[in-house]
Symmetry: C2
Subunit: 215 residues, 2 copies
């Protein structure tokens, strides 16, 4: 099964760039947007635990509230869909049991048959203190960020990843604290403005020979 | 530019799974592999700093050496290409200057015009202690992991992400310490074995309504 050629994949990955100016008149159509949400849901995660929640913000008032806590980057308000990827804090036995129950239902197996899997996860989590657990969950959200941006690029949707925001303020505005979540990273999506001069600049990447070693 | 339909993208993302058994007879052809390396290189990173190095391992002896430090997961030796994504430790002014020089060359601008950009990065990095810097660099490698896995799936290449390895042993075997790198995460790539029963199991994901909030 090859649904895209290597050439077309690279054309898309070359086409994408961290969009600085979005065309605020252009919204992502629902059929495309919905598949980008699916790409988030389908993201692989450590043990399949999915320690995340994704906030998709199109409401102009909420975008405006986030803006001053986002280094005033205009992408927040000008993009079509602004996504905040939140990480679960303190993933532990409750979340592991939830995953086991869900796996048991979907795969039609007794939860008892999953005990080895459960114990392995439990042991892995038990090694980590709350800070390490949050770091681990944040790492998973970055896989989702990668899958989201790559998916967007092959669909011809523009994106700008954003780390530059005040996490505690995002948590407050989105009510994340009480949900046991923490804002990890964000991504603005939509369509580039024709006025964005960054679109035309050469991409700055180091040479393959500097970044890849074949052994 | 839309090089893939939302339906085909989702078909690919549904098709992929964390491959447990690879067909060790099947190698990824060089033309496909080379584009996967390009997808790694083209991965977006915070400030464009690319704080990473990717080790692509096909040598059976090195794979065998990594195996016991990888929870003995057979994917390490049976896959076609085993990638170790390493994070740079202590990214600081040296790496920032290197990026500024490279940007100046590629975009044909004086480095002085990039001073605002340089200062912003320097300020951001200065807030972090060495452990936080490594965590930040590791986060970036997970974007690369996401882009790699999504790219593989749309090309019809199987993959299995792997966190379950002893980082210090990988560092020792690959000589990462002296390069200022640390093994962050790994990914086995190749083609699934027809005997892998996991390929047929329903994918375990929570409902969209549980993982996504539209605001």
């Amino acid at each position: 099964m090859e649904v895209i050629s290597p050439e077309n994949l690279l054309k898309s990955l070359q086409w994408r760039y961290a969009t600085k100016a979005f065309d605020s008149e252009q919204q992502i159509p629902e059929s495309i947007w919905s598949s980008l949400e699916d790409s988030l849901i389908l993201t692989p995660s450590s043990f399949g635990l999915q320690p995340w929640h994704f906030f998709v913000i199109t409401n102009p008032e909420i975008k405006a509230e986030l803006l001053p806590h986002s280094w005033n980057q205009a992408q927040v308000t000008e993009c079509s869909h602004f996504v905040v990827l939140a990480a679960q804090k303190n993933v532990g036995d409750v979340e592991i049991s939830q995953l086991m129950d869900h796996t048991s239902t979907l795969r039609k197996v007794e939860t008892a048959t999953l005990d080895g899997y459960r114990k392995m996860m439990s042991g892995f989590m038990a090694q980590m203190n709350p800070e390490e657990l949050l770091n681990w969950a944040k790492l998973q959200t970055y896989i989702a960020l990668g899958q989201l941006m790559t998916s967007a690029s092959v669909l011809g949707v523009d994106a700008c990843p954003m780390e530059g925001f005040v996490s505690a303020e995002y948590d407050r505005i989105l009510g994340l604290e009480e949900k046991g979540l923490s804002a990890s990273v964000a991504c603005a999506l939509g369509y580039r403005s024709t006025a964005d001069k960054y679109a035309e600049l050469p991409k700055v990447r180091y040479e393959k020979s500097e970044l890849i070693s074949r052994l």
